[in-house]
């Protein structure tokens, strides 16, 4: 399956990445080259195999449903780009996007 320029534009939209035309064109080639190497996977017989999403060691455990206290050494105001009255400020949603291009 070859990646097209439209695919790259669509993926960039999903990933919230702004791409110049030049970069988008280059990514078509780069992604196709990389994905070509991934074709090797089709050789493997995986019929009936469970997908392994994580390492199944004895590592996972549950803790009581009360978060341990994580005191911050400095307030969010010290690192947040924009705040007011303890809220993070973002641009107005009304200018955000029209309903059709949302996905």
């Amino acid at each position: 399956v070859a990646v097209t320029l439209d695919d790259v534009r669509h993926i960039a939209m999903l990933a919230r990445l702004g791409l110049s035309d030049e970069r988008a064109t280059k990514l078509v080639t780069e992604l196709n080259t990389i994905l070509e190497h991934m074709e090797a996977l089709s050789k493997a017989d995986t019929a009936g195999l469970e997908p392994m999403a994580a390492v199944g060691t004895s590592g996972m455990w549950l803790r009581p449903d009360q978060g341990p206290k994580i005191p911050l050494e400095r307030p969010p105001e010290s690192f947040a780009p924009a705040m007011r009255d303890a809220f993070l400020l973002v641009p107005r949603l009304s200018t955000h996007e029209d309903a059709e291009s949302a996905s």
Partner: protein, 488 residues
């Protein structure tokens, strides 16, 4: 860069700590020597570009405090020992930028558990080290702040992504440094710089405060100037942490005790797929010499097979970008880091992320988003997870057949020149011998086993889950057996 240790006559970190406890050495002197060494090798942006940020005044304050505690017969395992941390491990002093413009100047409001455990053990953080942006790379060429140069030969890369930490130890700035691993980012630079690098079992070390790249693979690792330094460092940071539910509740042995273990009865697998006909004959010779040394100590070396090895890189470069595309969604200009304005909220996201992320991070986010998108999920992501099961099965069979450890080259080549791998997939192949341990979660480490034309060669020891102790036993034995041969 000549390889003199900054820490006077002390043989290693444990010996230096003993001297500080005894009072024949001071933490202030050790830290000053470390900072002086950083200046001497030009560890900043105008030189080797190893250290992205340092706070000398704070390091000296901590050293003074460490010396003041000496009177109370301190038991801290790293009292007064200078350490370097990769720039994706959170510290409340100094920035945590992940080698990225999007987090340039960001100072974390909390500390990573690994950082806190080092500090609680008396270690003194003298700097944050350069890395490929968000740990995506094998050379540090993808750092937004310029590449680190290999202290052995500054025309060459130090490896990556934890290249700054490896180079810092190789240059003698500290004997212990932390890095992180997702596909070999500690072992590969350790091999290129001629130091020891350990990737612990998935779950062995808390990742609280490690900036996430690919959560089913990420693990904090340790660099040491020798095996003992790495063993000491890992002991301090390992163990369950209430702040990371993927950290395992498995007892942490004293890895330094492994130095006395015999190799008699140890069965070491030699996976044939890691010794292909195309392997550099000199690389092969160094590995065979190491295996001979282990045989001479009483170990049995047995040929084994990990038949799905050739699929590890494709699997890794689907799973890691997929997870990264999700993890890196948090960098959107809202809560921290860079923010650029654009047309509305969407415009802000796109402007911030396209300016904040470099080309490799952008490439991987794109790749990851693609393999997770409708129509491609089954063909790529699900398929990769299934093949990951096959890789795990390969390992399980070998370890269940009575093999205790496996030995392989860490990398297919020695350190390469800047710009030598301009094709992304070519760069990805640098990780060919390291990614599988991350995919299956086993511990693995690299240690120096010789040189080729003056450049370090790393040998890799792989153990089964949570068997770092046995891995260290073989590493201590091999290091002792090779002696100076490991560095020439």
């Amino acid at each position: 860069v000549s390889g003199t240790s900054p820490q006077g006559d002390a043989a290693n970190a444990a010996a230096l700590r003993e001297s500080i406890v005894r009072g024949t050495e001071t933490a202030v002197h050790a830290v000053n020597a470390s900072l002086h060494r950083a200046d001497e090798v030009r560890a900043g942006a105008d030189g080797l570009n190893i250290v992205l940020s340092r706070d000398d005044a704070d390091a000296r304050r901590q050293a003074n405090a460490a010396d003041a505690r000496r009177a109370d017969a301190p038991t801290e395992a790293l009292l007064g020992i200078p350490v370097l941390l990769k720039d994706n491990i959170a510290t409340v002093t100094m920035s945590t930028s992940c080698g990225s413009r999007i987090l340039e100047g960001y100072v974390s409001p909390f500390e990573a558990t690994a950082t806190r455990r080092l500090r609680d053990a008396g270690a003194i953080v003298v700097g944050k080290t350069n890395m490929d942006e968000f740990a995506m790379g094998s050379s540090t060429e993808h750092s937004a702040f310029g590449p680190t140069k290999n202290p052995i030969d500054p025309r060459l890369v130090p490896g990556g992504s934890s290249g700054g930490s490896a180079a810092g130890v190789a240059a003698g700035i500290t004997r212990i440094a932390l890095g992180s691993e997702t596909g070999g980012s500690v072992r590969q630079p350790a091999a290129f710089c001629g130091v020891v690098g350990v990737k612990p079992t998935y779950g062995r070390v808390s990742r609280y405060g490690l900036v996430a790249f690919a959560s089913s693979l990420d693990q904090i690792g340790v660099f040491g100037a020798d095996v003992d330094d790495a063993a000491l460092g890992l002991r301090v940071i390992a163990g369950r942490d209430a702040l990371d539910s993927t950290s395992a509740d498995v007892p942490v042995p004293d890895y330094r005790q492994a130095s006395g273990e015999s190799m008699r009865g140890m069965v070491i697998g030699r996976p044939t797929e890691y010794f292909p006909a195309t392997l550099d004959p000199q690389m092969l010779e160094r590995c065979e010499r190491a295996l001979d040394a282990l045989r001479a100590l009483g170990a049995e070396v047995r040929d084994v097979s990990l038949p799905h090895t050739e699929l590890a890189i494709p699997v890794y470069y689907i799973i890691a970008p997929a997870e990264a595309s999700s993890n890196l969604a948090r960098f959107d200009g809202v809560r921290y880091g860079l923010r650029l304005t654009g047309d509305g909220l969407r415009g802000m996201y796109e402007a911030t992320r396209s300016r904040g992320f470099g080309p490799e991070v952008t490439r991987r986010i794109m790749l990851g988003t693609y393999v997770l998108s409708a129509g491609y999920y089954d063909a790529y992501y699900r398929k990769a997870m299934q093949v990951r099961s096959l890789l795990a099965e390969d390992f399980r069979k070998v370890f269940e057949s009575g093999v205790h450890l496996m030995f392989t080259p860490t990398t297919p080549s020695t350190a390469f020149a800047f710009g030598a791998k301009s094709d992304p997939y070519d760069m990805y192949l640098s990780d060919i011998f390291t990614v599988t341990a991350n995919l299956v979660g086993t511990p693995a480490m690299s240690l120096p086993i010789g040189r080729i034309q003056g450049l370090p060669v790393g040998g890799q020891i792989i153990a089964s889950h949570f068997d770092e102790y046995r891995m260290f036993a073989a590493a201590y034995a091999l290091e002792r057996a090779l002696g100076e041969e490991a560095h020439r």
